[in-house]
Subunit: 248 residues, 2 copies
């Protein structure tokens, strides 16, 4: 019999930012597997489920436990905060079930922090943009540096994930120093933290100020392009409609 | 009295891919303003609302009519497909209400096609990625070319929006030719069309095949990085967990 594992993006944190499809996948599950912080976000909504939990950096163990539960006949939802695919668990689960003909993996998308944090700040990603993680746990720092440098040269807006952690307190400053090689210090930037959770904050600032901003692992950082500006306290990257209309 | 306009990302198309927050914003609205195709997606769910509609390229008119409705005392939801901020209406509405002290603009995020199309294909955006539109209606083609070239050099995965239209039948081929200067022809790619709507399709292919793929304006295209591979027919960009584990 074919077993199904749903990898579900639960959005930024609150029940109302979840899609109906994600909510239905959790409702239908016998077992919910996730990182502790994310399990605690959904547990109040689905208190009667069985929960599987492993710490950060034990993602492969988490997948293995989810697969075992599915093989034993249980319906499993493996959750990621934000989207299931953007630095989420969908790819790893697809890798780990490779060749298992009797397991079907369904990926349920969700609102990733680039979108939820962007909405909170205004519309910083209104034109072409890049999403880059500063975590070098799984990516060489040289690759991250190169990406930041080329994206700045390309004039892309950026959403920067994992800007800092206890182990990497200075990574955001290092990243900003690279961006400042190309972008003016006055470039409009922003930071959103604890999006859709207790303690939610949004701050608009310049790239120079961002360099020394005390971001943590719950912060998502936004870097504007040359046209990004602050309108009534909101960070806005125009797509060009208004300026085009003026020209015509 | 303060008037509120919600700019709402309705997701890819089906009601179940909408967030609960987006559904509540539409439910609370007297007036729903949007492009015709998107209005028709939500009208069956909210048949009793007043609808404001303008054609494509009349986005500023649409905003103006939405603002007029809000000023007249109505609760207004301005909708974008996907996310409200990613090539959506949030930025334009924030620009057009600049200085209007009695209008508050709330941005409600949604699942953009990079995420919904990615989930349909597997997990192509599992590592750093860029979102680039090939529409040169509001952006010089030279800028688009430069972004494609630099993103390929940066090793970013890509989600490409607006890959073609009646007016621009050869733009995807032109874009692929630029990418092929840097990336191997065998790079794993994909295309998703009519996501979460009637006629939904997902296709996995190589970059060389993508060059001649008949994309249209309802297609979102995905380009992998050097590690992206096809697993059981799904497009997967590993983040590195599995390979890391093997190394340890």
């Amino acid at each position: 019999m074919k077993r199904k594992i749903c990898v579900v993006g639960i959005g930024p944190g609150s029940a109302e930012e979840m899609t109906l499809r994600a909510a239905r996948a959790l409702e239908a599950a016998d077992v919910i597997a996730g990182y502790g912080v994310y399990n605690e976000l959904v547990r109040p909504l689905y208190p009667d489920k069985e929960y599987i939990e492993t710490p950060m950096r034990r993602e492969a163990d988490r997948c293995r436990m989810a697969i075992d539960a599915a093989v034993s006949g249980k319906t499993v939802a493996l959750i990621s905060s934000g989207d299931a695919g953007v630095y989420g668990m969908a790819g790893l689960m697809l890798e780990m079930t490779e060749g298992m003909e009797d397991i079907e993996v369904e990926v349920v998308p969700g609102v990733t922090a680039a979108l939820s944090g962007g909405a909170l700040l205004g519309a910083p990603l209104g034109h072409d943009f890049a999403v880059i993680s500063l975590s070098d746990a799984l990516t060489p720092w040289e690759d991250i540096e190169k990406r930041l440098r080329l994206c700045a040269q390309a004039g892309l807006c950026m959403a920067i994930y994992n800007p800092a952690s206890h182990r990497r307190p200075d990574y955001l400053a290092r990243a900003c120093d690279i961006l400042l090689e190309t972008l003016p210090g006055g470039t409009a930037c922003g930071a959103a933290a604890h999006i859709a959770r207790d303690g939610e904050t949004a701050r608009v600032m310049t790239l120079r100020q961002l360099r020394d901003f005390p971001a943590d692992m719950f912060t998502t950082v936004f870097v504007g392009n040359a046209n990004t500006r602050v309108i009534g306290g909101r960070l806005v990257t125009p797509r060009g409609y208004k300026s085009k209309e003026t020209r015509e």
